[in-house]
Point group: C2
Chain length 227, copies 2
DNA sequence: CTCTGTGAACCACTTCACAGCA
DNA sequence: TGCTGTGAAGTGGTTCACAGAG
């Protein structure tokens, strides 16, 4: 075994936090913009200003994955972009299936932002007889959920998006896990249970609004108390 | 000024963290379910088991707002539910406007989960001439964005949901802020800037998928390294 | 001199453990 | 005894500050 003289991209040994992960996506977007603008190198300070973050935090986030920068110079935009795409696993197309062909599911199936970032919406599933065989405006075909296991293997589905009513969520998540899918983005309220080898991420829309409502309520209480 | 002998609901003096805020919503949902099931009191341990959280954390979260529980007994379900609704500001209907009548905006306008949690979708705005005057399936009328300032005052809009393309986001956010709205839920990628008195919360769909993709990529790298 | 990568300090959220009340 | 509310300890993410590479 030969020793690589300069291991540019190291696999993160110590687990990387969710916070870091979320920021990596922001860095990548910023680099896409910089690259499009023809910028060749960028310093952590410059990135930090654009993203309104702390420069040390950016350096620490990136340092998890090797010595990606050059001292005295900064980071090469094209190279760092390539590394981040590899780190985030979007250096090849990522296959996504959506379960739930309601308003939200169909909107997500046609959401342009997914394609732009390298995600490929492979199929949309539902169980309602009248929806099967229809297509969304964007041209995604609705299939019956029972076809998921077969398609998961054939189409190599990486991620399932769950956009069904709360009552059906656990059942659907179980089906998704049963089909061998190991990453789930769930829009149904109330955190379904998944085995430990499956990664679940929740987007709770009502909760998001409630956190804003809380902010407004706190303002009001504070004002009332001051008088 | 008279001193209340037992201030049951105290306004949180020390600022409450975003983490706590998010959990308060979960507690509220759990209590709605318990109340519907006829349960009268609940202990932090029981809540913790249901939500798979630490009991001390629940007690600490709630203690921010006064002595809401009874030692030796637990929390009164109905009473805590009422308190949480008040704390989260959902004890009265919260008026929400959505900007962007694309697929996502229309899906959000008709999303049943919002109404269920006490949010009232007052109006949907866009600037595309052909969309103005249309209604969503759910019956929400699309108005021109220039009507927002007038409607914001008249309908007392509390929260704006921004569901427009990334390029338009900053402009729309500025319009929303200009209309006097102080809380924004933004679905466009790339964190627009808001003045400090406005609360902005981002839901970044592509970023959420990327964090899952990252997880899958890490698994793959770990496996490759082990061999 | 500039800018990265990182030990050490800092800070915030979480959890433990227990005093204190019913 | 049972369970809350909370000081104190633990954990982990962030920021500082600087050594060291270019």
């Amino acid at each position: 075994m030969r020793a690589p003289q300069k291991p540019r991209l190291r696999a993160a040994d110590d687990a990387v936090s969710e916070f870091t992960t979320a920021r990596l996506s922001l860095y990548l977007r910023c680099l896409e913009a910089l690259d499009a603008a023809g910028t060749r190198t960028v310093s952590s300070t410059a990135l930090a200003e654009r993203l309104r973050l702390n420069a040390a935090q950016i350096r620490r986030d990136l340092a998890h994955f090797g010595e990606l920068g050059v001292r005295g110079v900064g980071y090469d935009v094209k190279e760092l972009r390539r590394h981040l795409r590899q780190i985030l696993g979007v250096d090849r197309s990522v296959h996504v299936a959506i379960v739930g062909a309601g308003n939200l599911g169909r909107a997500l199936a046609d959401y342009a932002g997914f394609r732009r970032e390298g995600f490929d919406i492979v199929s949309l599933f539902d169980t309602a007889r009248e929806k099967i065989g229809q297509s969304t405006r964007g041209g995604v075909l609705v299939r019956h959920l029972r076809e998921l296991p077969a398609l998961a293997g054939r189409e190599r589905i990486d991620i399932a998006v769950v956009a069904v009513p709360a009552e059906a969520a656990q059942e659907v998540v179980d089906a998704v896990v049963g089909a061998g899918i190991r990453a789930i983005l769930n829009f149904a309220p109330g955190t379904p249970h998944v085995p430990s080898h499956v990664k679940l991420r929740n987007v709770d829309l009502a909760l998001s609004l409630e956190s804003l409502s809380f902010f407004l309520a706190q303002e009001k209480h504070a004002k009332a108390e001051r008088s």
